[in-house]
């Protein structure tokens, strides 16, 4: 069965796009596309960067521009399972489309506040914070959650606003609760912002020989880290102006 007849390049490039949007490593994207094409008996030449995919299979070349999205472990796993299913069963295009729509459907976000609360509380305990520090971190983690969800898709601006809001909220809380240690609170909340996933994926990309992709992701991590530092520093200056510290 030829890939071009079955319009598989459209599907395959769509799966590759969704993997990159949700934060998958470049070698995983290239591997997934190659495996699906190989299951149809076709050799695919794939080149991927964090914002671009180019693939050629069966005389058809497709390029895809990928916009950055939110990292989503669940979607990466579901897309991985879908690619295994396609390789094994060769379903029709309509069935694959239904699968993809199911993956894209909005998921239940009710666990999100609980996740932020528990993570911030556990981080504060790990840094030796008191019970009052834990309560303060929990409040600030909800601020982080709200700002992160509503600050827009631009990752650098988003993380800057989150860091600024975190620093300012912490300073405001210490005015009303002078016993809390802003060191433990912000130290814990900074971990929630650190681009650990981007750095790890950058290292994986470089190790697999995708040096350009790894360098691009590492640059993004550095910019994100600078945005966090700038946000925290500016919030401290702002708090100094507002509260005279």
């Amino acid at each position: 069965m030829k890939i071009a007849e079955n319009k598989v390049p459209d599907i395959v490039s769509e799966i590759g796009r969704k993997l990159l949007e949700n934060g998958a490593a470049v070698n995983r994207v290239e591997d997934t596309i190659s495996r699906i094409c190989a299951s149809y008996g076709e050799k695919a030449d794939v080149f991927a960067l964090p914002s671009f995919i180019a693939m050629t299979a069966s005389g058809v070349t497709q390029t895809v521009r990928v916009k950055s999205g939110k990292i989503n472990f669940g979607k990466i796993e579901e897309l991985n399972q879908l690619s295994r299913y396609i390789c094994e069963k060769h379903p029709c295009k309509e069935e694959i489309k239904i699968y993809l729509d199911k993956i894209d459907a909005p998921k239940d976000k009710r666990v999100l506040p609980l996740a932020y609360l528990c993570t911030a509380a556990a981080l504060t305990v790990n840094f030796g914070g008191s019970v009052k520090d834990v309560c303060a971190s929990v409040i600030i983690s909800l601020v982080i959650m709200v700002v992160r969800e509503h600050a827009g898709a631009n990752r650098i601006l988003n993380i800057f606003l989150v860091a600024f809001a975190t620093g300012l909220s912490s300073a405001t809380l210490t005015v009303f609760m002078p016993q809390v240690s802003s060191e433990s609170i912000i130290g814990a909340c900074v971990i929630l912002m650190i681009p650990g996933f981007t750095v790890t994926t950058a290292l994986k990309d470089m190790l697999c020989g995708d040096t350009i992709a790894g360098i691009l992701r590492m640059c993004e991590s550095i910019l994100l880290s600078l945005a966090i530092a700038t946000g925290i520093v500016l919030s401290e200056y702002t708090a100094g102006l507002l509260y005279g510290r």
């Binding site: 990466i76 790890t200 190790l207």
Partner: protein
Amino acid sequence: MGDNVLLQLAASMVISAGFSMIYSIKLSRLPFVAAGGGLTLLIHLILINISGSQYASLVPAAGFAVFYAELMAIMLKAPAVVFLVPSIMPLLPGRKLYKAMHSLVTGNVPVFIDYGIQTLKIAVGIAAGILVSEALVYFIRSLNKKAQTGR
């Protein structure tokens, strides 16, 4: 001291699980992710006890996280990165990083340099552990592939 260690381990399991929930992990993976975080911190604490060096212990601890993630990926047929990143989270230096930034704001340059270097050492230790272990995993995979294809 024992209670403190148990509390740290419990906290690290919650950190790993909570962090992966923030990134929308499938809930069925949570016990494995929590176990990864707890085991990584446990290895880190045991090695600090043996070697006395916080920074040297980070390399094998991060390396363990990589091998654990790869093992979970094979057993559960899921991407390894889903288990790796949450397992590394308990090792990250949030407090030192904040102290470095705070001392920069207050103009305390010697303290900024001191905490900045400590943070950098931790980051380099974790990155080194990940790099070495990933390289080993890559090598083992290529040997396995050669054995299967006969090339």
